[in-house]
């Protein structure tokens, strides 16, 4: 029994994949096809990843030796602010949206997103937001108060350049893009699933995207409100965060982290979803504990709004408040951490194939455990009192963002590249890339834990020549350049494979979900007919019972 797929029907009037027009590259600009938009999101992400990475390398060069003078203090401050802002808002989020808008319709058996034009709007407004943010470099200086831009340092009297204004406007624009995409994804997932795909049969990636979209819709308004207030402060002399006129420094921290901590889960849940697809396929088994993984993501989304003040243990909120947020932060660690064992149990008893995608997934297990454990250290208030705002935090957050988000996204890239281009991403070079990237990453950040324990604060443009500081920082810089080199390899790999890679076929991994039931890449209309879904692995069921 099979079901014809009509909704939503993409119109031939819209340019998209498989529709030949004479427009050439212009076709990309005018496209509303979710697949082209997905690819463009990923390209935007790659572009900003290169820029943000270059900023990181400049910072690491400055920090390679004690009392170094490669960058001036202002330049260093602008670079670390832009590095953080870029990596969160212009790399992690676009990459996640790229995979989400490309694969959500394919995995639920739909032909398009619910609102194709809005989809294109979201992409471009995000991109323009990013461009606006970067225009600040030409307009008199980039923002220089850190990516969380604490008051009152973000006020005109301490940061008189236009950088913070560009930060505000840029983030508001990308924020609009994120919110509209989330609305789009929620409506698509709730209304356009193929017959039989109940919510408890959704592929876990789509589950995570769904939960994530709700999380995003609830979290972003808080940032937007804070940004609007900051804009009023800077442009109309309002008094929200202007501490010399009765404003409050802590209000900004509260509003920012009510957004900021859910944001951390916003960039980790979809990679969790990707891994929950990758592990089963390459272990040849269903996921272990589907219900736990799905339900725990909802728990994470809800708890995420009750943990924000663990970023503020050192501001003097008092032991009672600190203890409350300590408990909630530990609590959220459980649904997050236990997933590691779900994935391990998925692999257990399987027939594991070590493709590059699977290698990233397995490496993720170890890296994310390290990031998660140092995260638990920060939920223990007294330890946080010692180590917050040191290099220990820098190490922790990079183990979560790179060891978690980026490793997950790279597993997704190697897993889905054949579907997106019809060509395999070169596995042999891919393994070189994996080792170079993974080793470079650990060399860079493992030593930073020690630097934090030795008392090195974060966000310093230089440091005195104290024992171990020089050598550990130098090691970290060497690792950073290894990662830089590995990124060049990845870019070469992607464009080489796209041009002359091995042809992939429709289903190179013998996978389980619906995106592999169509051509690679699929036509403008993704599906004409699909089997009715009865289980969580529709394609597997279909292949078993011809």
């Amino acid at each position: 029994m099979s079901e014809s797929v009509n909704i939503p029907e993409p119109s031939k009037a819209f340019p998209g994949i498989g529709v030949s027009t004479d427009q050439g590259l212009l076709q990309w600009i005018s496209s509303v096809d979710h697949k082209m938009i997905g690819i463009m999101y990923l390209l935007v992400s790659l572009l900003f990843f290169v820029i943000g990475g270059a900023e990181a390398l400049l910072m690491r060069t400055q920090l390679a030796l004690p009392m170094n003078h490669v960058l001036s203090p202002e330049a260093y401050d602008q670079f670390f602010t832009m590095h953080g802002t870029t990596m969160i808002f212009l790399v992690a989020m676009p990459a996640i949206f790229g995979f989400a808008v490309y694969f959500t319709p394919l995995m639920i058996g739909a032909n398009e997103m619910a609102f194709p034009r809005m989809n294109a709007f979201s992409l471009w407004i995000t991109f323009f937001g990013g461009l606006l943010l970067y225009f600040s470099f030409f307009a008199g200086g980039a923002p220089d108060a850190g990516w969380f831009n604490y008051a009152p340092l973000n006020q005109k009297n301490y940061s008189s350049g236009p950088g913070i204004d560009y930060y505000t406007m840029g983030l508001l624009l990308t924020g609009i893009g994120s919110v509209t995409t989330s609305v789009n994804l929620v409506v698509t997932i709730l209304h356009y699933r193929i017959k039989g795909m109940k919510l408890n049969k959704l592929p876990l990636f789509v589950w995570m995207v769904l939960v994530n979209s709700f999380l995003l819709l609830a979290a972003f308004p808080s940032l937007n409100a804070a940004l609007a207030m900051l804009l009023m402060d800077r442009q109309f002399h309002a008094h929200f965060f202007n501490t010399s006129n009765g404003g409050s420094a802590l209000l900004w921290q509260h509003l920012f982290w009510i957004f900021g901590h859910p944001e951390v889960y916003i960039v980790i849940l979809p990679p969790f979803g990707i891994l929950s697809e990758v592990f089963p396929v390459f272990s040849r088994k269903p996921i272990f504990g589907y219900s736990f993984i799905a339900a725990s993501s909802v728990a994470i989304a809800l708890l995420a709004f009750g943990v924000w003040a663990h970023h503020m243990f050192a501001v003097g909120l008092g032991n009672t408040v600190d203890s409350f947020f300590s408990a909630s932060s530990m609590l959220i660690g459980i649904p997050t951490g236990v997933k590691i064992f779900n994935w391990l149990a998925t692999m257990y008893g399987g027939k594991i194939k070590f493709t590059v995608s699977m290698m990233f997934a397995v490496a993720f297990l170890v890296e994310f455990t390290i990031g998660g454990l140092s995260g638990i250290a920060f939920s223990i208030v007294p330890i946080d009192w010692q180590l917050t705002d040191t290099y220990y935090v820098v190490a922790h957050l990079h183990y979560v963002f790179i060891g978690g988000t980026i490793f997950g996204l790279l597993a997704g890239l190697f897993y889905w590249f054949p579907k997106m281009t019809g060509k395999m991403l070169n596995e042999k070079l891919g393994k070189w890339f994996f080792w170079l990237f993974a080793i470079g990453f650990n060399v860079t950040f493992l030593v930073q834990h020690v630097l934090g324990i030795l008392g090195m604060p974060r966000r310093v443009y230089t440091y005195p020549n104290l024992p171990w500081y020089g050598i550990l920082n130098f090691i970290s810089t060497v690792g950073a350049f290894m990662m830089g080199a590995s990124m060049l390899l990845l870019i070469y790999l992607v464009f080489k494979s796209k041009k002359s890679g091995e042809v992939a076929g429709n289903d190179p991994w013998d996978a389980f979900t619906l995106e592999w039931a169509t051509t690679s890449p699929s036509q403008l209309k993704n599906f004409d007919e699909l089997p009715v879904v009865h289980g969580r692995r529709p394609l597997w069921d279909w292949k078993k019972k011809p």
Partner: protein, 180 residues
Amino acid sequence: MMKLVVGTEAMFFVSLIMAFIYMAYNAGFEPHEVQQLDIKTTGIFTVVLFCSSFTLMLAEKKYNSRKIKSLKFWLAATIVLGLIFLIGQGKEYIRLINDNITLSGSVFGTSFYALTGFHGLHVFIGLIILSIVFVLAFLGDFNKPSSNVISTVAIYWHFVDIVWIFVFTVVYVLPHFTKI
């Protein structure tokens, strides 16, 4: 979709209202500034805005029972009531500014104008949408029964009203019962 938009907008107003309350307790408003608010007049305009929700509800009802003429009438009534509310808010602003309470003057001014201003902006946007719907009604877009435009717009308009109830309570009513 509109429900999601309203949900995310609701979080935005929660942030603004929490900021207002936080500023009230943390920085401390000048009591004389709080007392300058005209609770009576604004109370009347609050009733006006509240009525506009009912008129829009009636409009929706008329549309469902295919009475296009009454639909147009109640839509117009809604727009007029909304306009009256905005004019009322404008008068309040002018009076306060004449009394030297401005956005850049004090912490109270900052919080007050930001919160009520963002709400006013939402009323204004709602009026634009309603006007478009009104014009579309004359162009005959609603002669057929299948449209859900009016019910979607209504969700937004009711939301704006409900937000005002909260804003009014927090800004105008509560300070009379608590010591700020």
